[in-house]
Subunit: 335 residues, 2 copies
């Protein structure tokens, strides 16, 4: 059939719409947008919030451009145990670069990294961690670092499940991201982790494009190199997007206050406060890791993703707390 292209398109659309219009079943049988969530309180709270802010004419209605939702990454969208993925990345990079740095064999925290001595690493503290990151995340162009990350994220496997880290994202949270976007929300990641460690894969895995990722960063410098413009990564901290830094990062990158925030640890406390302690309909949610069998169980006493002050604040501020074991049918997409 030779029909002009615009007629073909329109005809197809008409057929589809007639089919929908004439089939009461197709139109009324709504598919559950959150199938991996049990029918417990958190799911009901999410749906209630989304329905009220999207209902035109309601007192709680929020115009689409203002529907900003922010998500922490480590422990909220993907697994952060037995250690932050960024630390696993840094340790792998130290091993990969060790031949070029014979001095690392005898210098901390590099020796600890090479020996896999987690106790010595923990003892090196925040300062040691920053040293590892500076040594492994800087000294190359942004394009080169992006390639290192993209390669690593496809080949690295976590120690317990032996899966790529991007398989250890939470299926219920993927559904939540999609559900919010289907309701006119713009979804942002606001992570304490390195911004450039996330951007190469967040669009594919979470549907969140690079320009909607906020995170910690090191300084970069513009340089013309053999006639080609490059950004060179310097071993200097630019911004730490954690704790009180999260509202700062949100303001800098987004420029308006979110109406919904999702986190899992004390690093998310100020982001949750900034988002929810304001007029109008607001939503705060904390993922509580309670499922040692399917994932991990931890809260007030852990090195990675401590949830203590923010758990107390959840009760005071009426934030929704997800009990992973009770509220999630499924944890990972592959379950």
């Amino acid at each position: 059939m030779l029909m002009p292209r615009h007629l073909q398109t329109a005809a197809r659309a008409v057929i589809v719409l007639l089919a929908v219009a004439l089939s009461p079943i197709a139109a009324t049988a709504q598919t559950d947008p959150l199938p991996s969530w049990n029918d417990t309180a958190p799911k009901a709270a999410i749906v209630e919030f989304v329905e009220k802010v999207t209902k035109e004419g309601s007192a709680d209605f929020v115009a689409e451009p203002e529907r900003i939702a922010v998500f922490d990454n480590d422990g909220t969208l993907w697994t952060e145990h037995p250690m932050y993925v960024q630390l696993a990345f840094a340790l792998d990079r130290v091993r990969a670069e060790a031949l070029n740095h014979p001095e690392w064999k005898t210098t901390q925290p590099f020796k600890a990294a090479l020996d896999g001595d987690m106790k010595a690493l923990a003892a090196a503290g925040q300062k040691g961690l920053m040293e590892l990151i500076m040594a492994t995340h800087a000294g190359m162009t942004t394009d080169e670092f992006q390639k290192v990350v993209a390669d690593w994220i496809t080949t690295a496997r976590d120690p317990r499940f032996k899966k790529p880290y991007t398989d250890l994202v939470y299926q219920p949270m993927l559904e939540l991201l999609s559900y919010l976007r289907a309701n006119g929300f713009k979804t942002f990641i606001v992570s304490g982790g390195g911004i450039e460690l996330m951007r190469p894969w967040t669009e594919r895995v979470y549907g969140v494009p690079p320009e909607q990722v906020v995170g910690s960063s090191i300084k970069t410098q513009f340089e013309m190199k053999d006639g080609t413009p490059t950004l060179f990564r310097l071993p200097q901290v630019n911004f730490i997007d954690d704790k009180a830094g999260k509202p700062v990062g949100i303001n800098e990158h987004i420029g308006r206050k979110p109406i919904a925030a999702f986190g899992n640890s004390d690093g998310d406390l100020e982001m949750l406060q900034w988002t929810t302690m304001a007029p109008g309909a607001r939503f705060g949610l904390i993922v509580h890791h309670t499922d040692a069998e399917r994932e991990y169980a931890y809260d007030r006493d852990t090195e990675f993703g401590r949830l203590d002050k923010a758990l107390d604040a959840a009760a005071v501020n009426s934030w929704t707390v997800v009990d992973m074991k009770a509220d999630w049918k499924k944890v990972f997409p592959g379950d």
Copy 2:
């Protein structure tokens, strides 16, 4: 007529689509998306670029998420003479706050600001300008500053046209922003000016939401104030989004390389290089201020918006140069 809502919606859509399908005129008579552009080389170059990157199957096709376009603001989207709007704002703020600062009467650069002594102000240089900005842009919360800006932008008038600054935006560039967005581009502002001086009005005036505005900034600090979370603006430079800072700002906020960049001065040189000196279809454009009658005429010899190195680079890099007088039918929306 009592029809279930989904039937109503579908019926409406069917009617609209049938109307389109049955009317060859509606589908073929294209309206010119750039009516304020003369039919000279720049318009042809813009249209040619947009058509080739949006044509599926073509060698130059660019997928929608990668269609990032960056625009300078001062002198590219709105007028920057006789002085940057940010300087006019700072001078107005100094006058408004003078009673609370008796010392300003005898201290430079404040004395020059109060006396309207542009020569002394120019002599105070970059350092003096920063002092003015710190004194007038900091020392309050982000919410307070936003209100100051929103009030000022509606009441302030430029000295020559006696119009609000937001009326002195370029109609051809507004059309270009819309044309790009209609073709799947995401449009960002990347300005040397203060990020929070733009965000309160860019969505209304340019259709660019706050999260797509990149600019210079001062540091902010999260504080709980009487139980309310606030961000307090500190008198410390956070980031200067100018010259070699622009690619840095683009990388930090957008996280991918734009495919089109629009500027007007040497402050945009590195942004244009970063955008265009890369593989694939790329587009660079410079607005050359050549119209003293309708706007201003300046290039190599001016305090505000000097265009010297970037004009030479335009020839080398085949960037499109808009001759405002010859290429634009209209300058401002009100013309």
